[in-house]
């Protein structure tokens, strides 16, 4: 009997370790996107401001994925010989949106507005990391509640630790 409990405890601990190994080291933090889009070239080398493409960040809950027309606005002329740009153009010709893979995902029970954070002067980098140096976008924050709260506490956000601020 004693042994059985011991087995269960060992198995259980191993189970938890396995789960976290997967979560911490095998998560797709930088998923392959349908187009090999580089933030390094756009935001880094060419210094395009974030909100030039993510146009809703200041006005809405979501920052907004750039619409295909916006991509084509420049790329009708710029680098049309690149095979990746030709992929964008083919989506545009087919009148299909580009199915980007989501990197930052919040569960439905969390209310997160980009608007309030941008207006409070939080730099995009604070949560999204140094995007200007990323060839492929990579998740750098856990987006877990403790992570949110540590910042809310540090910045002394009004009602920043209230449940209803985010869970509503």
């Amino acid at each position: 009997m004693k042994k059985l409990i011991l087995y269960a405890v060992v198995g259980g601990i191993a189970f938890v370790i396995g789960y976290f190994v997967n979560d911490q080291f095998f998560s797709d933090r930088a998923p392959v996107q349908p187009i090999n889009f580089s933030h390094k070239i756009h935001a880094g080398d060419n210094q395009i401001p974030c909100q030039y493409c993510h146009i809703y960040a200041e006005r809405s809950r979501v920052s907004g994925v750039p619409n295909v027309k916006r991509c084509m606005g420049c790329h009708q002329i710029i680098k049309t010989d690149s095979p990746e740009i030709q992929k964008v153009a083919s989506y545009w010709d087919k009148k299909e949106p580009i199915p980007w893979v989501k990197v930052y995902n919040l569960p439905d029970h969390v209310y997160f507005p980009h608007k309030r954070h941008v207006r409070a002067g939080v730099d995009c980098k604070n949560c999204h990391g140094d995007v200007a140096s990323m060839a492929r976008i990579e998740k750098v924050s856990s987006l877990q509640m403790g992570w949110c709260l540590s910042c809310h506490t540090k910045r002394e956000v009004k009602n920043g630790r209230d449940c209803w601020t985010c869970h509503k």
Partner: protein, 747 residues
């Protein structure tokens, strides 16, 4: 540690870690996609809601709504706080209108019948083919000089769409355009026509009355304009000034009855006599304010005679009479327990006389006649009844029948033999968005938009003692391949050609509606006030949800001619008392209304406010009666009338007379989508086919039934464990005076 044990631990550890790893992998959400717009619409910001003002069309009340739309999807419907009918409130039916829009059982494309009639087997066709087929049929009718054999049967529509439909039928050369629906309250309209000259339900000023005597008007739940009345009722009870009193006369305690101060369960069918006896007592006691025309008529209705007939004591009648006459202002409403009978008009007239005697007509807190029709309100043609349609069909006078909104196959008794009559109509077209029982008989279906996708307008009836014109606008693009109801008529007119196309020459219904409002704008000078021309007015009306003017109080007197149709006898019930011992009261349930709400799952799972039953039909029986029949709660019983039999589980309800049973209307659909089909029973099936001969309103309270034990089957699902509070003090109460004292102490 032994080597053997060590290996075991390694093994278990490995399996555990592997399992944990796999769970970690599969429990992660699959890679969600971020789909951008190809070209962003200018007026949409993703994540930011847009609110559009419109009107709820799920019942005839005409409540203003605000619809929350995000990224082109309607997410939530709320009441429009600025609208004079509902002042921000919205009932469960209106809240569920998004479920009508996105309903999985909507008719998504035009359909052509494949199987036999009534089977519901259809093949999809294009709009071109559908319009051509129907237009071809109409052209043939016209060429044979049989234009008069086109019938259009619609739900009680109002406003511009009603005018367009009427224009279409008359331009075609037919005079057969009729409205049909349960709970049209045509009896009240008829009584009001003979009494006050307008064929509409008057405005009952519940808000300002101090003594409300309601004859079975379940205004807190379904009656006429429930959101408006509930709002008024709240102000009457808890607003400024003295708390008003509510007395409810009805055999079955409704939601409104449950919040009344007094419940008077008079014998079914005799409530009108009770009203007359109260009126006579007022006259006899010298408390009448205006009895000149009625003294003679009323002298026949003595309280002591009425007491035994109505099963209400003389003392109680006298007490009610005195209180009704002395409390100022007081108001009596002719609800379903005087008007749902074969002589319902007479019952409504009796209540009119009672109001007149007590001096309640045309005063604040009394009955305010409507007279503020802006020109597009609902018009009731009392000559057009469902019975006339049935006999016309049987006589071969209908060659083509177009149905919209009405579902008479569900809402007329089997005794009416409507399905048999429909089988004699060679061609039936339906414009319904849902496969209801009547649409299932159609040869061709041209599905119209739901109200969240369509244009329209509404002129609330009853009004709110103020002129009101509301606008319905599409808040989302069409979800399926359906068309605007108005556009169907317009395109059909074009396809038929000739003078029909000449008469209706608008490019589309949106333009037709705008032109109609232009006329309204130029006819009513008050509408133009404060606007810079029509375009400005139109845009403001779209933004606000319509136009409404200041309240206009009107006065009137009941004309002596009102008494012409007063029957003064108890209503008749089919079936001998010895064989069929119980009165049957089928009633409009809060969520399903006349059955239209049954296909919306939110409404199915909404517990009935009085019984807490969900997803089914039940029969309400007094516990004493049930004990004498040896029945307990949940037992299946057969409810049998001389005209048929249905079965339902028993709900023990102390709020019903022992000689009466009640069944909610709304379930028992044979079609109408996955949520409605094959659920519960329809009490209308077992009613005799009776309507008030004057108004044509269906007489729902018109038969007796017997109750026998049925086969076991359906289980009744209800939310309540017990109807008793068992001394747990669930609702804590204090008297008003005590409350005032407590408030002072706190402050």
């Amino acid at each position: 540690m032994k080597r053997r044990d060590f290996l075991k631990f390694i093994g278990i550890g490995g399996v555990g870690a592997g399992a944990g790893f796999v769970l970690g992998k599969v429990s992660k959400p699959p890679g969600a996609k971020l789909i951008p717009y190809l070209i962003p619409p200018e007026d949409i910001v993703p994540g930011v809601a847009t609110w559009y003002a419109s009107v709820c069309t799920l019942c005839g009340a005409g409540c203003g709504t605000l619809v929350r739309v995000m990224e082109g999807r309607a997410k939530k419907v709320e009441g429009n706080p600025g609208h004079p009918v509902n002042r921000g409130g919205l009932c469960a039916l209106g809240q569920s209108s998004v479920q009508a829009l996105y309903n999985p059982d909507r008719i998504t494309k035009p359909l052509k019948r494949k199987g036999p009639r009534g089977s519901g087997e259809y093949a999809e066709i294009t709009w071109d083919e559908a319009l051509k087929t129907l237009a071809g049929n109409l052209t043939e009718l016209k060429s044979k000089n049989e234009s008069e054999k086109l019938h259009l049967l619609a739900s009680p529509l109002g406003g511009t769409i009603d005018r367009l439909a009427g224009e279409f039928v008359s331009a075609f050369g037919s005079s057969n355009y009729s409205h049909y629906g349960l709970f049209q309250r045509k009896n009240l309209a008829f009584a009001n026509l003979s009494a006050m000259g307008t064929a509409s339900v008057p405005h009952y000023d519940i808000e300002n009355t101090k003594y409300l005597l309601s004859f079975g008007a379940d205004f807190a739940s379904t009656w006429v304009s429930p959101v408006n009345y509930s709002n008024g009722y709240g102000k009457m009870r808890q607003g400024a000034g003295e708390r008003g009193k509510l007395v409810q006369v009805e055999p079955r305690l409704s939601l409104t009855g449950a919040s009344a101060d007094e419940w008077v369960p008079a014998k079914p069918g005799t409530e009108a006599l009770l009203a007359l006896a109260i009126a006579n007592t007022i006259v006899e006691k010298g408390l009448a304010r205006d009895a000149s025309a009625w003294r003679g008529v009323l002298s026949r209705y003595k309280a002591k005679d009425a007491a035994s007939v109505c099963d209400v004591s003389v003392e109680r009648i006298e007490a009610m009479a005195v209180e009704f006459a002395r409390t100022r202002p007081s108001l009596a409403i002719a609800g379903d327990s005087v008007s749902s009978y074969e002589n319902g008009v007479s019952g409504a007239i009796a209540v009119n006389i009672l109001n007149q005697v007590a001096g309640n007509i045309g005063i604040i807190g009394g009955v305010m006649p409507n007279g503020d029709d802006l020109g597009n309100g609902k018009k009731i043609d009392f000559g057009r009844k469902i019975s006339t349609l049935i006999s016309a069909a049987n006589a071969g006078k209908i060659k083509t029948l177009i149905v919209y909104g009405a579902n008479p196959v569900f809402t007329t008794p089997k005794a009416a033999r409507l399905e048999e009559a429909l089988s004699k109509v060679p061609f039936i077209a339906s414009f319904s968005s849902f496969m209801d029982e009547t649409t299932a008989h159609a040869d061709i279906i041209l599905p119209a938009h739901t109200s969240l996708e369509d244009w329209g307008d509404d002129f609330p009836d009853p009004g709110v003692a103020a002129p009101v014109a509301s606008l319905i606008q599409p808040v989302v693009g069409p979800v399926f391949d359906t068309k605007s109801l108005g556009d169907i008529f317009i395109e059909l007119a074009k396809a038929v050609g000739g003078n029909v196309a000449g008469k209706i020459n608008a490019p589309n219904f949106a333009e037709y509606l705008k032109a109609s409002w232009k006329g309204l704008y130029s006819r009513n000078r008050e509408m133009a006030a404060g606007t810079l021309g029509f375009e400005d007015f139109w845009n403001k009306a779209l933004q606000r949800g319509g136009w409404w003017g200041p309240s206009r109080k009107r006065t009137a007197t009941v004309s002596a001619r009102a008494g012409e149709h007063l029957a003064g006898t108890p209503a008749r019930f089919e079936g001998e008392e010895a064989q069929y011992p119980f009165y049957l009261i089928p009633y409009a349930q809060t969520a399903y209304m006349d059955g239209r709400g049954a296909n919306l799952p939110w409404l199915q799972e909404l517990p009935d406010p009085m019984t807490s039953v969900v997803w089914g039909t039940w029969v309400e029986i007094n516990p004493k009666t049930a004990a004498s029949l040896g029945l307990k709660e949940g037992d299946m019983v057969n409810i049998e009338s001389p005209f048929g039999k249905i079965s339902a589980p028993v709900y023990l309800y102390p709020g019903i007379r022992p000689d009466t049973v009640a069944v909610p209307i709304g379930q028992g659909h044979s079609h109408y989508g996955r949520y409605a089909k094959g659920r519960g029973a329809n009490p209308i099936e077992i009613l005799p086919f009776k309507e008030d001969p004057l108004s044509g309103e269906a007489a729902l309270n018109s038969t007796r039934v017997r109750i026998t034990r049925g086969a076991t089957g359906e289980r009744m699902v209800k939310m309540e464990g017990s109807t008793k509070e068992l001394g747990r003090g669930i609702v804590q109460t204090v008297s008003p005076s005590e409350f005032k004292r407590m408030k002072k102490e706190v402050v």
